[in-house]
Structure formats: C-alpha cells, structure tokens
C-alpha cells in the first residue's frame, strides 16, 4: 500500500533466473541444437514487498545468496523483476559502482564529467558542482592528470565525490562504501548523515550490523529470497544473527520464523552477584558491584572444549568489554546435555547506564559457533558519582610535601 509519503515501493517483487546448463551463445549453436536447451530455474526473490517512506533510512541485511544484491538491482532498475514492480518517487541514484565509466587515459576532470553523465546529470549541473566535487575528493592538484596515475584511494575518493554530489531524492548504497580507509569511511558516513538531515531517503544494503544500528531507522532481513523481518534494527539484527546460527548447527533450518526462545543458548538471566537463583525482578548495581549471568544451555551436539564469549555494550552500542573464557584462562567443562552455567562478572567498574550482554558459545576444537545470543540480557548500573563516560575510576587527591 503506497501513500503520498512513499519514496520507494517494492510491490510483490519476484525474480526467477533461468540458468541454462549449457548456454547457446551463437547463431551457429542455435542452428545445431534448435531450441532444445536444458534449464535450471533459480528463485532469487520471492514475493518481496517493502514500503520505504520519504526520509527513512532502511537497511537490508542478508547473507550471500539471500537475494539482497538481486533486490538492490531490481530497485536500481538494472534488472527487471519477473513479477511485481518497483516504484520510485523522484530521482534515484544507486551507488553500486564508484567510478562508472572511468577511463584510465582520461584526466580526473574528464572522468568526472563522464561519470556524472552516466548518472544522468546535465552539463550545466556538472559545471556548477565541479568545484565542490574536486574539493570533497581533495584532488585539486591532480584533477587534470590522467586517472591511471592515481592511487586506488584517490580513485575511490573521486568516484564517491561525484556520487554524493548528485542530489538524489533516493540513494541506494551497497558495500561499495567499505572500500577505502578509515578517514574516507568517516567522510562517507558523515555525508550520509547529512543526507538524512536533509530528509532524503536512503536504502542501505550491507553485512555490517554496526552500521545498520548506527544509521538506519528500520532494517529488513532477507533469507533465501524472502523477507523474514522488517522492523527495528536491533530486533532485525538479533534475528539475523540467530538465523545464521540456526543454519550453522545441525538443527533443521528454520523457515523464516523469527527465533523466540529456543536455540542452544536457551536463556540468559542476570542477577546481582550472589543473589538467590530464583529471585527475579529489576535490580541495579553500583560501580564495583558484581553481576551473575545464569546461562541455560541446550546443546544440539556435545561440545568437548567449550568457550563462552561475552560482549558488553552500552545503550549506544559502544563496546565496553569483550572477552572469552579461553582468553581469560577459564576452563569450561565439556557440555553434553542441557545445563546451566553461571558467568560471574565480579567487579564491574562502570558508570551509570544500561548495558547489554551478548553471549556466544563456541567449540575450541574447530571454532564452530554453537550458539549466539545477541543482547541476551541487560543489567543496570547506578552510580552516585558525578562523572561522565563509561568507566568508573576511583580518584583521590593529595598534596606532596616539599
């Protein structure tokens, strides 16, 4: 259902590829074999519907083979869906390839014009924005040199500089932004945030959960051509990760249902350290206090040398602590059947905040991930100290004689 506020409407899009097992690629072959060919059909997308509202930033996550590249190409207009359609309001620019049309013999200047022309820009527009583009790419001194003399970093910066100065209403981006160094990535990210402030619509296809949490309002998870989750980023990512785990263990794969309880890490509950096993309810600790994490495990197969990994992050998804029992020198007894482990966080020197805990269960022998629970539980710290930041540090002051 589209409304006036819809920027991109993916309406029941399905895409089936007919892959010829022995393709006919010439007139000669066709004459010889007439029309006898064998095909295999592959359903890349199955009845996908997504409604992106104006000003939203939607992230699309999925493993390789989930159909996310195909979906992206359908949205970009490069591939035509077998059924259904993609509708877009306004100008859509897709950044699937930076430097489209670049020719090594031509200068940076000439390549900017060609690249911009590929995105449908008129000459006057390019003239107007040329200086901005060169400034963004920081290539003022080299702009008239042939592109074959550029380093790969310069090449990418130039391509990106053209792409971001395009003034689209809808921007489609994929992992192309992963290319480039940290400084460049920071620049890309800040430009994307600027686009968001300007109210533009962005569709972002990625593997990187952290970026999705950072900038997306909404996330859609694709698995084998279908949408399995469409909602808040943290929920979607949890489901994505659980799904990944689901396909790694020997369990029969789950067909698109969101994982609720169940899974190898059946439950994680946090308690104040030393509290009674069955007492539930909200609690908080002070800096330096302890938290017990009661982990209920239901392994699918026995694990000879288990490793428990823990990751604690704050409300803004900043990593506070990450370690595993192997690194900490803690030996975990072999796990054969359902059991309960208690991971004690003894002295938690954190300032006020709500902290999420993620738990991973691995096998030391082959590194296989048996269970993974993202944001399995939380605990709260209330600090009476008047200090900012994450870490709680005891500070004293004295005067030295002399």
């Amino acid at each position: 259902m589209t409304s006036d506020a819809t920027a991109v409407a993916v309406e029941q899009v399905s895409k089936t590829f007919r892959i010829s097992t022995d393709p006919v690629m010439s007139f000669k072959e066709r004459l010889v074999r007439l029309w006898r060919t064998s095909h295999v059909t592959f359903d890349a997308l199955r009845d996908v519907s997504i409604d992106v509202r104006q000003g939203e930033t939607v992230g699309i996550i999925g493993h390789n083979g989930s159909g996310k590249s195909t979906l992206l190409k359908c949205m970009a207009g490069i591939i035509t869906p077998t059924s259904g359609q993609v509708l877009v309001r306004g100008r859509l620019t897709s950044l699937l390839e930076l430097g489209a049309g670049f020719h090594p013999e031509l200068s940076g200047r000439e390549n900017v014009y060609i690249n911009a022309a590929f995105y449908g820009m008129a000459r006057k527009e390019i003239d107007r924005r040329f200086d901005e583009i060169v400034a963004f790419a920081e290539l003022d001194r080299f702009i008239d040199e042939p592109v074959k003399h550029y380093s790969s970093g310069m090449y990418v910066r130039l391509g990106f500089a053209v792409a971001v100065n395009l003034d689209p209403d809808v921007l489609l981006v994929d992992e192309v932004l992963a290319v480039g160094d940290e400084l460049f990535q920071a620049k890309c990210l800040s430009r994307i945030k600027q686009f968001q402030r300007e109210g533009r619509t962005i569709v972002f296809v990625t593997h990187d959960a952290a970026t999705v949490r950072q900038i997306c309002d909404r996330a859609v998870v694709l698995d084998r051509g279908s949408v399995i989750v469409d909602g808040r980023p943290d929920e979607a990512i949890s489901t994505f990760r659980e799904h990944l785990h689901g396909s790694l263990s020997e369990r029969p794969a789950l067909d698109g249902e969101a994982l609720g309880d169940g899974g190898v890490i059946a439950e994680v509950a946090s308690r104040p350290a030393g509290a009674d096993g069955d007492r539930s309810g909200r609690f908080h600790i002070e800096p330096g206090g302890g938290v017990d994490l009661r982990i209920t495990l239901r392994p699918v197969s026995p694990i000879a040398e288990p490793i428990v990994a823990i990751e604690i992050s704050d409300r803004n998804d900043t990593l506070v602590y990450s370690a595993d029992t192997d690194g900490l020198g803690i030996k975990v007894p072999p796990i054969e059947e359902a059991c309960r482990l208690v991971l004690g966080l003894e002295r938690v020197w954190l300032l006020s905040g709500e902290f999420h805990v993620s738990i991973k269960l691995l096998d030391r022998a082959d590194g296989a991930v048996h269970g993974w629970r993202e944001h399995a539980t939380t605990f709260e710290v209330r600090s009476p100290r008047r200090a900012e930041g994450i870490a709680a540090i005891d500070v004293t002051l004295r005067r030295e004689p002399g």
């Binding site: 010439s26 104006q54 000003g55 949205m75 490069i78 993609v86 022309a117 590929f118 390019i126």
Partner: protein, 302 residues
C-alpha cells in the same frame, strides 16, 4: 532521524524503475541522457588520439592516403577514368561511415558489460555513441576531401550540393536503426559480430563505390532485371548523391563522355532519399521496440 518539517516534499509521482516503455518514452529517456551520448563520443575520440603524434589529423590524412594509393593502383591497372581516385573517395567516405558505425556498435554493449550490470542508463546510448563517433570521423575526412577538391579545382556540381545534408541524414537513420538491432543481437548471439563482417563485405560490393552506378544499371538491364533493385540497398542513394554532387555526372576530362550516373534532376535524388529515409525511419521505430524488449533481460544475459 530526519526532521520531517525540513524534508523536501518530493511532489513527483511514483514511477516504475524498469520494464517496457513506449517508443516516445524511450526516445525521451535517450534525450535526457544526451550529455552521456556526447561524452561517450568525445571519450572515444580523445582516447583514440590521446597518445598519438598527429592526433585527430590522422582521420584527415586517411583520405589523402587512399587518394594516393588508388591513383597509383589504377594508373598501373589502366582501369577507370580520369580522377578515378576522387570518384572513389566521394563514395568511400559515406561507405566508411556506414560500415564503421555497424561494426563498432555491434560490440558496444558486450564490451561494456560491467557498466550495464551496475549503472542504470538507457542502453541504447551505447550503440548510438558508436554511430556518433563514426560521424565525427566522417566529418574530419570530409574536410580533407573538400580540400582535395579545392586544390584540384574540380568542377563540383553546385545544383546538387544542397542534397548532401539529406544524404547524410539518410545514412545516419540507416546506421542508427541497424546499430540498435545489431548491438542487441550480439548480446544474445555472440557471433553476430562475425556474421556482420561477412554481411558488410557483401554489402560493400553491392554499393556502387568502386564501380559506377551506370555500369551496374546497364548490366542488370542486359540480364532482364530492373535497375531499381539497386535502390534496395539504402547505401546506394546516399553514395550516388555524394558522387553526383562532388564529382559530377559525366567523367571529367577530354575524350568520350561516359554517363556515370543516370540523368536525373536534383529533385529526383531528393525523392529517392526521401523514400529511403521514410522506410528506414519505420525500421528504426521497430528497432527501438526490439531493443526495448531485449533490454529487459540484458543485464542478466551479459
């Protein structure tokens, strides 16, 4: 995350991103990408001459080179007539426009497979850019031809010269229609390029470039076929117009006057060109529709 009060209310309607278009819509889309077409033609030329010594003057020297070679060859062979080399050039230039348009446009899409799979733009721009580049070469060579005619003070038939732009236009309509069909065909059947080579060879001999139209017409009549068959080849009216205007109807020089071309008024030539343009515009319309249909599955096939 976005401040909805500040967001630009995009008033445009929802448009589909892919699928079939009307012919008018297709042409409009190509028009929107006019800048791209222009840049691709420029790129083709700049890249070709970037590191060469003489730059684009190579294009102009080519006709002069042919002139020298053909004059020498036919002087030795003793065939042909006065200023035969000039006669040949008149036809050869337009023929080169047609043949090079077709051969380069056939591979224009397959050679740019990476682009086609990653960026959205009307694919028709690629074969049309090949035609554009061939046109630019033609213009450069034409300048050289004009210089030769001026140097020799050749009696150009001015009452026919105004037909030249129409002849050129006819050639372009033919080139563009064929370019679209060939480029699309080559994606689905890669030997189109090879088949085209053979076709071009045959087509060359079916066009009165090296021989004169009058001779071919006589021969056909002698075996009972109407010479109108020769006009089935769209290149023929174009070539004979150029020959008529720039070389003249009868051959230059003393001695027996042989009629190289039929005795027709300029308006007759205009008529034949007009019919050819009309016919090939219809072919072009079909070519656009076929191309549009082929474009649906282009990215996956490449």
């Amino acid at each position: 995350m976005a401040d909805t009060a500040a967001s630009p209310a995009v008033a445009a309607p929802l448009r589909p991103m892919s699928g079939r278009r009307t012919t008018r819509g297709h042409l409009a889309e190509i028009g929107r990408y006019g800048e791209l077409l222009h840049m691709l033609v420029r790129k083709e030329l700049t890249v070709r001459y970037k590191n060469s010594l003489l730059g684009f003057t190579w294009s102009m020297l080519q006709p002069l080179f042919y002139l020298v070679v053909y004059t020498a060859v036919f002087a030795i062979l003793g065939a042909g007539f006065e200023r035969f080399a000039v006669w040949i050039l008149c036809g050869l230039l337009t023929w080169t426009l047609i043949s090079s348009s077709l051969t380069t446009s056939t591979t224009s899409i397959t050679a740019n497979a990476a682009l086609v799979g990653k960026v959205k733009f009307p694919r028709a721009v690629l074969p049309l850019a090949s035609v554009g580049a061939a046109l630019v070469h033609f213009c450069l060579q034409f300048v050289a031809l004009v210089a030769v005619l001026a140097a020799l003070r050749h009696p150009v038939d001015w009452s026919y010269v105004w037909l030249l732009p129409f002849a050129l236009l006819t050639a372009l309509v033919v080139c563009c229609s064929c370019a679209l069909l060939l480029a699309a065909a080559n994606v689905y059947a890669r030997d189109t390029a090879h088949l085209l080579d053979l076709l071009v060879l045959g087509w060359f001999w079916a066009t009165p470039v090296l021989y004169h139209f009058g001779r071919a017409a006589e021969w056909l009549e002698s075996i009972g076929i109407t010479p109108w068959v020769l006009y089935g080849n769209p290149a023929t009216p174009v070539v004979i117009t150029f020959q008529r205007a720039l070389y003249g109807r009868d051959f230059v020089g003393a001695g027996d006057s042989i009629s190289l071309l039929p005795h027709h008024a300029p308006l007759w030539y205009l008529g034949v060109l007009g019919i050819t343009i009309g016919l090939w515009t219809a072919v072009g319309w079909v070519a656009l529709r076929v191309f549009d249909r082929a474009e649906v599955n282009l990215a996956e096939t490449l």
